[in-house]
Symmetry: C2
Amino acid sequence: MSEPSLPIGALARSVGCNVQTIRYYEQVGLLPPATRTAGAQRRYAQVHRQKLSFIRHARELGFSLPAIRELLALAEHSDSVCSRADSIARHQLEAVRRRIALLESRRAELERMLEHRHGRRVRDCRVIATLADHGLCAEERHETDARR
Amino acid sequence: MSEPSLPIGALARSVGCNVQTIRYYEQVGLLPPATRTAGAQRRYAQVHRQKLSFIRHARELGFSLPAIRELLALAEHSDSVCSRADSIARHQLEAVRRRIALLESRRAELERMLEHRHGRRVRDCRVIATLADHGLCAEERHETDARR
DNA sequence: GCTTGAAGCTCCAGTGACTGCAGGTTTTAA
DNA sequence: TTAAAACCTGCAGTCACTGGAGCTTCAAGC
């Protein structure tokens, strides 16, 4: 009958997010509304904690809120078809892989910009020169390769 | 006297960004205001094209607009000290590396979630189960290792 | 029962770097 | 001259929160 009921701050601490985030999830309909005290303060049950924990875990993996909404709905019905959840996760994995590839190429160019010896003044600065002339970042490779 | 002057659309095509972006850069003071025709349309000179190209290149590398603002200011003065530009770039490189590390761990967990055989229904779904129980994503490794 | 300070409440604005739209004006080529 | 393409300003929307102002409620100690 009397399920342990957490105020919002305790819930926030227990899942490691902050209070505003929880209110925001309620506002956008991701988390069901809490019960309220006579003075209109929110009190949460275990089911809320589980859902919130699910949401936070999914967010850490980079799922969007719409994707999480759908995953939560799937989780509600234990006989719904699993392939949809898989497809959402595969989609996210692909997005993460594309993002990594983009960042790897950024990293490579930044490293190339930085690894050269250069003058103390901006007129000889690799960083500025590379940004100013897009050609440099492609040609740089050839020059470097040729020199070795 | 009569420098070739591009309308905004032509400039946008020539650097591969869109028209609103150019107006936005002017609005936030990243790009100096264009000269205007009698009918108040913008006309751009080569110096604008160079700056815009610099900005876009820096954006592709993930520099923030405040960082780019500073890099542009450094580029203006060819006798300013290069180490500041280097420091901005190194900072960005570190940010990119941290981001890659985060995404790699996401990728690993998503791959672990997806690589298991599982039932057709959500009650046996790895994806949902892993999200629901944060413990699974760490423990999974041990179980898997132990079983082999 | 009273006080007090922590924690809660709502509502609203701001973040970054754009993007899109509405409704109007200018330019340019035929 | 006309018609279409391109341009203009101003503002709202994106995503997932985060922060603040100004007020109310709760819980613990006395």
